[in-house]
């Protein structure tokens, strides 16, 4: 269960989120839509625990989090249950594709043998099994996006967040990604995907959260 209650976020002297409240039952899918600057990325950053909300409170994966509540150690453990696909990939430039994807598993202390199996499986699934040694700079934008997606899902997160995940993918890869999200959903993960791609939303209709000027204007 993901629950936000009057969550606000101040950044750079202004309110980028104001009084956002919604609930997402475990294992459900949500589209997050809205025009540029509406606060989609900010909301995803709050859900990813990259920033604490400035006001309000939220319950994520059973943990209450507010402007001052939630210990640092506990938040770190919670982040391991959250997969995030960033709009700008955010791969570590000095690590190759394999080590980038392996990072969440190693942080979680998984045995190296299991890490190899899981990482190779995911890299094969995203079509990069022949490029495991490539550094991000040696991969195209779409390939980097696929590495980022593999990294986000390799730990089988309870909550999967994606910020414009299809922005650098062709139509075929975008559809494959939607299949992956649906599969994660089926396995019990809660999935929230922010997108501008209206066509994608129409092809995969689901419960939608719409933001405008930092305010939630639609939940349904």
């Amino acid at each position: 269960m993901l629950e936000l209650d009057e969550v606000g976020l101040r950044y750079g002297g202004g309110d980028v989120l104001r009084g956002v409240s919604f609930q997402v039952p475990e294992g459900e899918f949500r589209w997050l839509v809205g025009p540029s600057g509406a606060g989609k990325t900010s909301l995803l950053r709050v859900l990813h625990l990259a920033v604490r909300p400035s006001s309000g409170r939220m319950v994520m994966l059973g943990e209450a989090i507010g402007p001052r509540s939630g210990s640092r150690g506990r938040l770190a453990l919670l982040r391991r249950q959250i997969g995030m696909v960033f709009q700008e990939f955010r791969l570590l430039p000095h690590l190759d594709a394999f080590d980038n994807v392996a990072l969440p598993l190693r942080l979680a202390g998984r045995p190296e043998g299991q890490v190899r199996v899981d990482v190779m499986e995911l890299l094969a699934w995203v079509g990069l099994s022949r490029k495991v040694r490539r550094l991000p700079a040696e991969l195209s934008g779409g390939e980097q996006q696929r590495v980022a997606i593999a990294r986000a899902v390799v730990g089988r997160p309870s909550l999967l967040l994606a910020d414009e995940p299809t922005g650098n993918l062709d139509d075929v890869q975008a559809e494959r990604l939607m299949l992956l999200f649906q599969e994660m959903n089926r396995l019990g993960a809660t999935v929230v995907v922010a997108t501008h791609n209206q066509g994608l939303v129409e092809r995969h209709p689901a419960h939608t959260l719409a933001l405008r000027d930092g305010v939630l204007v639609r939940d349904g």
């Binding site: 640092r72 995030m84 570590l92 000095h94 080590d99 990072l103 190899r116 190779m120 094969a124």
Partner: protein
């Protein structure tokens, strides 16, 4: 299962990648924290610390030696013919542990730098000298009354001033060691902050993936501790020839003796232990400073 690319030896490509880059440096700390700069600066600090420790040990040894001399005094007998009576009176006086007449030849040898050779033969009257060791707490004035006609030279007043000087020297040397430690910590902190600035994005990424403060701080601390430890070792090794030269001069090593052996005998065991501790202490300072610096820096992240 996915197809796994192999190299000519049949080793999976991903394993080669692991060997090539390794996971111990997920954050790229090796490049972020400059090795040469930290080695050189901590090495210089360790060099100074080793010299200061040697100074501290030397001052302590001298202070101990002279403190022991505080219970000794010298009795000068202007007429050497009276030496027998003075000796008898000294040995009978309470509190005298030992009274030993100084050999006139030894006295002449001691005065030779000032009076030239054969001072006695040219008619210069030299007094007889008796070295006396007193029981602790015995008054030199009381002893002077027991040997009329002789002059009693107590060492205690100038030894007190000398002890005060040595105490200040010891305190100064200890302060230098402390300051050097603080400067080393500051150097490590600056290098660590520079590394954090370089790896800010990588840190934010692994933080977002669930890395704890301890994981991130540990990566930097391991690097800083290792470099500081090596720097400490290099500093001590660099100080060794300088200290050997000082020991050779200070202890007036006899010509022909093996220098290293003589130096080893002259240096107190505590100082050897101190030198051995410098790299360890430098490593601990590096590790601890990096831990504190990184953990403080991470407070900006939730």
């Amino acid at each position: 299962m996915a197809e796994r690319p192999h190299n000519r030896t049949g080793e999976p490509a991903y394993r080669r990648a692991r060997v090539r880059r390794g996971r111990a440096d997920d954050l790229g700390v090796r490049r972020a924290v400059s090795g040469r700069m930290l080695l050189a600066l901590v090495g210089a600090m360790a060099f100074l610390a080793a010299l200061a420790m040697a100074g501290l040990a030397g001052a302590s040894a001298l202070a101990g030696h002279w403190r022991a001399a505080g219970d000794e005094l010298t009795v000068q007998v202007p007429d050497p013919a009276m030496l027998g009576r003075v000796m008898a009176a000294l040995l009978a006086a309470p509190g005298v542990v030992e009274a030993r007449a100084v050999d006139p030849a030894a006295l002449e040898a001691a005065l030779e730098p000032w009076l030239g050779a054969g001072a006695g033969r040219v008619g210069l009257a030299l007094p007889a000298v008796v070295a006396v060791r007193l029981a602790p707490g015995t008054s030199a004035e009381a002893l002077a009354a027991a040997v009329p006609g002789a002059s009693v030279e107590a060492h205690e007043p100038w030894l007190r001033r000398l002890a005060a000087l040595l105490w200040r020297l010891e305190a100064s040397a200890a302060a230098v060691v402390g300051v050097v430690g603080l400067v080393a910590a500051a150097v490590v902190a600056v290098a660590t902050r520079a590394g954090l600035a370089l790896r800010r994005e990588a840190i934010e990424i692994v933080h977002g993936l669930g890395a704890t403060d301890g994981f991130i701080a540990g990566r930097f601390a391991r690097r800083a501790g290792r470099l500081a430890g090596w720097g400490g070792l290099l500093g001590v090794l660099g100080a060794a020839p300088v200290l050997a030269g000082l020991v050779a001069t200070g202890f007036e090593l006899a010509p022909g003796r093996d220098m290293a052996e003589a130096a080893a005998r002259a240096v107190p065991p505590a100082l050897w232990a101190g030198f051995a501790a410098v790299p360890v202490a430098a490593g601990m300072i590096g590790w601890g400073t990096a831990q504190v610096t990184v953990r403080r820096w991470l407070r900006r992240l939730p």
